[in-house]
Subunit: 457 residues, 2 copies
């Protein structure tokens, strides 16, 4: 291992050597490594694009974790983990390993050398290999902590959970147990978890490869609790992105908070110092991730008239314009009346109930994906929307809105929530804080930073 | 509806009008329709590529169905259907509807007008809408018939199945009930089916949209029996394509039959007139589709040494070269010996047992995909290879090889076959045989062709 170098010490940042990750000779290494950690975005994929040639990478480090305001990539693989260890030290070690691997993978490197670089040939490769010839595909990895990490899981009889890691007094106030909502039919095997990792990329093989290698590195400390594959991002997080469609065939996320709206991000997404007491200062600059697996009654929807569909949503199906007129980005005019004095946008329509004017001005940064998980025993599609939102505080930014929607929104007739998770998402590792060896691997010492480190300070 | 016109009558083929499919105004119609049916390939995706701008379409018509030698797209959604009707006429009507929809979808049109073009607004849209803004993404739709379509499903006590459609005497000899293989642990809910539709595209939303709309058109006649999503094609079907990797991290399909190998296709893929008797003449120019859901023991594999992995496969993990030396496309030298006189490529290695020299010269056209279907209750990945192969006759081109592999190939220790299907794939609809109205919709009369029509002649 070469001596540590700080990428900030070298003008233009370091050039990572491919040599040390080759192991087995040319042609096998990951591509697109000509970018230093902490450098500005090097190349990217402003629109959804999967190509063998794209070398898009996003920096792993920054004030906030990547994968939140990053222009939404087109594919998702999200995994929730439960810890099998009860050792705080092992938890920290796991987060250190994950940091190292995530810093490498997001820059287009392998999880580790293919074939032990200097060790015996008779050991498993450090990387599972299936991403070897692929581009980084804009991979981001975003880490979060579930409520059970802090206070364990209550027993069925209501007995309190166990504080396994001495973290109970660091529980952020917003990391509540979500209440039951009207449309909930939650499967515990698709809900909650101690840890979450959101992998987004423009190639599903890249996202799956990342989770697989992180899961492998967790062996002995944590196991996967549930996972969700998603495709066809259902929100834009940048004004440069086209508004996508959900499986109801409607444009979704027109009013989403976008990366370019710095003030709105500060108001609605990032946890500010003013929100927290001393115990949860570690979360400042972070966010909360709300994950909801929303199954759509596709077959029923498909037999609904166009008029009914548009009235339920409150927008036209083609253009996505509010029924009060205009084009997609025209503000809805909820007061406008049609024949007989009824509002053009129905009072129980989705667009009205989800609009900031119905929610004390609250806006969400949504980052959801469509999912299709095969068919149920009746041949019906098990498909829908995997809702992901990053919010400043779920008590103000999700619970009131979902309470209203689940009880009043007529669209709910076609929706069932089948999975749920809420996670505190720590801030990022500051630019330049990761010290890299010349093989691109962060050099970890007792002092080196890792994702979520603030929680353990 | 305009009067039928034969696209062959017009130089350069017709330009399909977008107008009639718009229904709701501009911006909603499918894109990439500037291509006539039966025209040569217009634009395409020679390498895996998903972009919002690609307008790649493949012709729906031709001597063979598309989706067999078509350069393998990067995503798959395959659905097996069971018929709920017992009416031969309804079966034919279903195939006619599917032909119309497939001819439209593969050319980038919607399944039907969004919002009834001339009908009442208070009817469901003819297309579900979620592909409205997307490119055709190289969509192909390939149709096949299962053994149960001809002879029904035998009862658990061995009683013969029912010939519901008067097709028993048209059963092709090769459409056998596959024998039990050593590594089989088949789930009936993931196996067989009366009909199959393979949707391949470079965007999963396009493939899922196609199956969804075909499924919708089958309402009352057929229901989905099982489906499989796949990504990261694990074979190349064109010499222009890079060899992809499976979830073992190895290159897969190096020796695949490629579209460019016309003689090999004739020898190994297409059903020749010399193979069939009068009852199955309808299958000449068609093929057989073998589908096998092969779960990989990922976690166990990941703990196996590199040496062991390479010995099991018989190739290097990095380059994919045979262990006898050379590069990926070097022919394996099975006679070459290493230290102690043992063959460099083990006698029970996958590459040796799957090689044509071990299989009477047989080669397959493989078209498989990786799959990841979440995790089992132990947190292990439910992932692997969805094996698809098109062959001239499964009795010579699949059963002997699989019998040998499942009993001798040491790689089988890491594999379980969990689903299986065998389907007869009829030939294509000849170029120019589909008569199109000026909205791009095939004009169906009692005489107009449909997929599988030969079976009913």
């Amino acid at each position: 291992m070469a001596s540590p170098t700080d990428p900030r010490d070298e003008p233009g940042g370091p050039r990572l050597s491919r040599r040390a990750v080759l192991g087995l000779g040319g042609g096998l290494a990951a591509v697109g490594v000509a970018a230093g950690f902490g450098a500005g975005r090097v190349t990217g994929a402003p629109t959804a694009a999967v190509t063998d040639d794209a070398e898009g990478t996003y920096p792993f480090t920054g004030a906030h974790q990547a994968g939140i305001v990053t222009p939404a990539q087109d594919r998702l693989y999200l995994a929730a983990f439960d810890l099998t260890t009860t050792s705080r030290d092992e938890l920290v070690e796991l987060l250190r390993r994950w940091t190292t691997i995530a810093a490498r993978l997001t820059q287009g490197l392998s999880a580790g050398p293919f074939g032990p670089a200097s060790g015996p040939y008779d050991a498993p490769p450090d990387d599972t290999g299936e991403a070897a010839d692929l581009s980084p595909a804009g991979l981001t990895l975003t880490f979060g902590f579930g409520r059970s990490l802090f206070v364990g899981t209550p027993g069925p009889d209501g007995t309190p959970g166990e504080d396994r890691f001495g973290l109970a007094d660091r529980l952020p106030e917003g990391l509540v147990a979500l209440p039951h909502f009207a449309a909930d039919d939650l499967d515990p095997a698709r809900s909650d978890g101690d840890l979450v990792v959101q992998a987004c990329a423009d190639d599903p093989q890249i996202a799956v490869h990342a989770i697989r290698n992180l899961s492998r590195a967790a062996f002995g400390s944590a196991t996967i609790r549930w996972t969700q594959l998603g495709y066809g991002r259902t929100s834009s997080t940048s004004t440069a992105q086209r508004t996508p469609r959900n499986l109801f065939g409607f444009k979704d996320g027109t009013a989403n908070v976008k990366a370019e709206e710095t003030d709105a991000l500060a108001e609605h997404v990032w946890v500010p110092a003013s929100d927290v007491d001393a115990s949860s200062e570690w979360l400042v600059g972070g966010s909360y991730l709300v994950a909801r697996r929303i199954r759509m009654r596709i077959e029923t929807w498909d037999r609904t008239s166009l008029r009914e569909q548009e009235n339920l949503v409150g927008r036209t199906k083609g253009e996505g314009a509010p029924l009060s007129g205009g084009t997609e980005f025209t503000e809805p005019d909820f007061a406008q009346e049609g024949r007989g004095g009824a509002p053009l946008i129905a009072v129980d329509s989705h667009v009205r109930l989800a609009h900031p004017t119905s929610n004390d001005g609250v806006r969400l940064l949504r980052r959801g994906y469509n999912f299709t998980d095969g068919n149920d025993t009746l041949g019906r599609l098990d498909a829908g929307l995997f809702f992901l939102a990053f919010v400043r505080d779920p008590r103000t930014h999700f619970i009131p809105m979902q309470t209203r929607l689940s009880s009043q929104d007529t669209l709910m007739e076609y929706l069932t929530h089948t999975g749920s998770g809420l996670f505190a998402v720590p801030p990022g590792i500051p630019e330049g804080a990761l010290v890299l060896g010349d093989d691109g691997t962060p050099v970890t010492t007792d002092d080196s930073p890792f994702v979520g480190q603030q929680l353990f300070a």
